[in-house]
Amino acid sequence: MSHAVAEAPVSISRAKKAKPVLSEGKRAERKLGLLLCAPAAIVMIAVTGWPIIYSIWLSLQRYDLRFPAQQTFIGFDNYVAVLSSSYWWTAFGTTMLLTVVSVAIEFVLGMALALIMHRTLVGRGLVRTVALIPYGIVTVVAAFSWYYAWTPKTGYLANLLAPDSALLTERLPSLGIIVLAEVWKTTPFMALLLMAGLALVPEDLLKAAAMDGANAWQRFTKVMVPVMKPAILVALLFRTLDAFRIFDNIFVLTNGAQDTSSVSMQTYNNLIKGLNLGIGSTMAVLIFITVAIMAYIFIKIFGAAAPGSDQGGQR
């Protein structure tokens, strides 16, 4: 995203040539810029900023919609309650596990798919078209497909691979199926992001490396991966944060049974089933903080290549 901003040649060169003192036209340009951005910025802040502040406030209250009269300020008691609950930590662990495993598999498969889509000699259009289907399809629809595939008797996969057991009623197989559903759905997206990086690898460089005797694996690790680093970072960052929010697949596949619940499921259950706004908000804040920390770590590790870091800026 940062490069993008840096790559606005037309406006930049014009901006550069402008006199240091704000001219009439320059001021008009600033005003127009702010005006055009204002509606988008206002909507984004109003729908996310305000609720997150509100949920911090709610998280400090005892607030159960079944007993609204008992609403009081209780400080950090909700946090103590959530953080000392084994349900929360089980869900947290499950979510982390699902995130790490599915993103790792997606990365490998996504890279393979990206290479296929980028290099295949036959049917490139067809492969790209078909690969977009999992990306576009509604997650709930895909989840139902996997659910019925693994339902005893009904499902082709259940009959084929495990005719005598109900895998979706056991913890580890359930988690495996959830990972499978996640991987199927999001590998194409990962692959597209990586393919964008592949397109940046200069063909001459690969040819030169081949000439110097580098084999395919060396060309991949020594030439392609370094050039693709920014794209890899973006893909991993977005998919990791996205995987951490996992909800739809678990909701349909197991509904959180056998400790397969994610933190998002827990939050939802506390709100809709428990009608407990205090606890629900506490979890919302904790998830928000976790995601913020994860994003921060990512950007720290990968440094300047991170999206949104002000590398280059516009001038």
Partner: protein, 280 residues
Amino acid sequence: MVMGGAVTTGRKIRWGLTDILVLVFALVPVLWVVSLSFKTKETLTDGNFIPQAWTFQNYADIFATTEFVRALVNSIGIAIIATVIAVVLGTMAAYAIARLDFPGKQLLVGLSLLIAMFPQVSLVTPLFNIERQLGLFDTWQGLILPYITFALPLSIYTLSAFFREIPWELEKAAKMDGATPAQAFRKVIAPLAAPGVFTTAILVFILCWNDFLFAISLTSTEASRTVPAALSFFTGSSQFEDPTGTISAAAVVITIPIIVFVLFFQRRIVAGLTSGAVKG
């Protein structure tokens, strides 16, 4: 494109086989739902991948219920309205980001990035209560608002990537040739910008169409429940009937628009996603 060596038949066959692997991987789960939706009640649980007996009954059943038809109307209406608003606001902001120099530009880019990474579930609890108090709970607006919000970063990034590719000098040239600013915009810039806007609209529509978390948390009745949320409440035509067939039929119906987009606009969608990704 190909490195080291000519395009031999052997290579082609190997690529062909790889391609087939991808096709199977991507299509089997979709075909499975299609197959389930055409199975008769008797063959529904036989576990065959291809139906032994075909029927349209499941489709007839879902279109006979207001539960599904209403949800479909909600899904279409909400997704279209949210898409239009998000694309219009996104176009304005992206134009400013791509072409104008103004303070706070980086801030807006950063804000969009934050929202793209924002955990939606963190909004569910507070929005639930805010919308209840404002009377937006279980209304179209109540879903459209969060959809616009989460569609805006996508639309701003994709559009500003597209807008940067437009040769804006043409606008000046047209004006020099005597076109009015309105004409220059309508005849020169709009046709160049339209493909990007259209692609963004598709991506945003897919995003809104796909949502489940908000749809199930911020609605409580048929008034605004969208299809993904309604699916999880399906019970079949009587309460004790197995809903597998009807759920599958409904799932196929809401998959059709996606298949159409993908088939007709594959190139654009790939371009949109990748341009927003590397540059965005």
